[in-house]
């Protein structure tokens, strides 16, 4: 397959510190080679959208970044440190700086919204002052517009509300990096757009660096500074949303064909 590297029009921005650096990353499950050669650099404050068909290993990449999966080979550095070589304490330290929004929201079913939000505060940040905890809970709930849901159980929330609470739970520790795993999957177009705009608002408010995995082109258009396209376990094209829209790459064309 022809590999295309689009000129980065986003490169007109001054280059800032590289916070995530991936070189030659490989990961297999049994005989299935999911990641064959991943190379990516993400700069501070940048929103990178990863597009790709299902089962191409997009989620595996971000699970490697947060240390949920260990790559087979290659280098994956976050803030200059190799993730695979971190011990448990170093990994905990890294996770204090990374927020991960799971595809399903991954809210803890047995806990109320408040308990879900308090969980990372008491576990990662080890906060004990209830007044400070309450302030942070209210702040993020106001941010996602769901203050009234604080005492509800996840089973009482709609899909969009779950995603918002999931986003609030990741933002509550004020992470420097946000990893979004298909944040708009399964939502109607209006709610998807609201979530995409919320991601952008939160990125501006908390000045996070983000990797957003999505199939939703509207979400990609709204949130991306840069888009990379993944196929057969590697990134085959990258550029701004606009530049990839005009790209001659066959796979990029497939993704952008319904975009006017």
């Amino acid at each position: 397959m022809e590999e295309v590297k689009e000129q980065k029009k986003a490169a007109s921005k001054p280059k800032s510190e590289v916070v995530i650096s991936i070189k030659g990353l490989k990961k297999s499950f049994g005989k299935k080679h999911v990641l064959t050669d991943i190379n990516l650099e993400v700069h501070r404050g940048e929103n990178v959208v990863v597009l790709g068909r299902s089962g191409q290993g997009k989620s595996v990449t971000i699970q490697c970044i947060v240390g949920l999966l260990v790559p087979d080979s290659g280098s994956l550095k976050v803030f200059g440190d190799e993730v695979a070589q971190m011990n448990d304490n170093e990994l905990k330290g890294l996770r204090m700086k990374i927020g991960f929004l799971f595809q399903s929201g991954a809210l803890f079913d047995s806990m109320t919204v408040r308990e879900n939000l308090e969980f990372p505060l008491t576990r990662i940040l080890k906060l004990k002052n209830q007044h400070e905890i309450d302030e942070r809970v209210n702040e993020v709930l106001e941010g996602v517009g769901l203050v009234d849901a604080v005492d509800k159980l996840p089973s009482d929330l709609s899909g969009g509300m779950r995603k918002r609470i999931g986003l609030a739970r990741t933002l509550i520790i004020k992470p420097e990096i946000m990893l979004y795993d298909e944040p708009t999957t399964g939502l109607d177009p209006i709610t998807s757009r609201e979530i995409s705009e919320l991601i952008l608002d939160m990125q501006k408010k908390y000045k996070t660096t983000s990797i957003i995995i999505t199939h939703d082109m509207e979400c990609a258009r709204i949130t991306s500074d840069r888009v990379v396209i993944m196929n057969d376990g590697k990134y085959i094209a990258e550029g701004t949303f606009g530049s990839l829209h005009k790209s001659n790459n066959e796979i990029a064309k497939e993704f952008f064909k319904d975009i006017s």
Binding site: V70, A106, R123
Partner: protein
Amino acid sequence: MAEQELELTGWRKWLASIGDQCVFFTRFLRNIFTGGFEWSEFVRQCYEIGYRSMMLVGITSFIMGAVLILQLRPSMVQFGQEGMLPKTLAVSLIREIGPVITALICAGKIASGIGAELGSMKVTEQIDAMEVAGANPIQYLVVTRILAVTFMVPLLTIIGDVIGLIGGFLALNFTDSVSYSLYFNKVVASIDYSDFLPAFVKTIFFGFAIGFVGCYKGFNSNRGTESVGIAANSAVVTASLWVFVIDALSVQLTSILFYR
């Protein structure tokens, strides 16, 4: 780590499963003593597992005690030994029937519940989210549940035994007139520590096996809704089998230690 299984078949898969269970057991043991104990979750699990199973254990034990008396009585009357009914019931209930019936009920209710709960948490990425949120899932989910079951099954068995004896007393009074004090004096006089102690010790092992199997099956279920049902079903079958295996071993051991 959310690693997927290697593609193994036949005896290799069986050996890998044994090894996996040993690793899981080691992780459980290590996490009891390191990194702080999750007391609030342990107490919550004791309530969920113990208190919520009490009604089922109570009703079953009551019926079991009554049925045993009703079944035994004609034969005992035939031999003129109806005076032995309290002793026969007490010994059979406390030594064997009480612990085994309680353990089987717990295997059905608790092991399947834990298997399904942890399985669905795995499927909906809640276990990964817990790890990313700074909690140790083994410590929070597995250690608390296994210890809670290990602690509650012996207590449930004692409660079940007492209720079974009450059931026997009421059944005996359908046909005969036996005073409360005579019945319970005969019961207390007929049992000694060699009846109670081995039975109590084996219930601790029953509890551990039920908790361990439930947690292992749930924690290691595959990603997919179907696997939740498989985990729950497999947990019940395996835990029930372990109850009989432990019972057979304990009978042998008790015979050697007490009845030679």
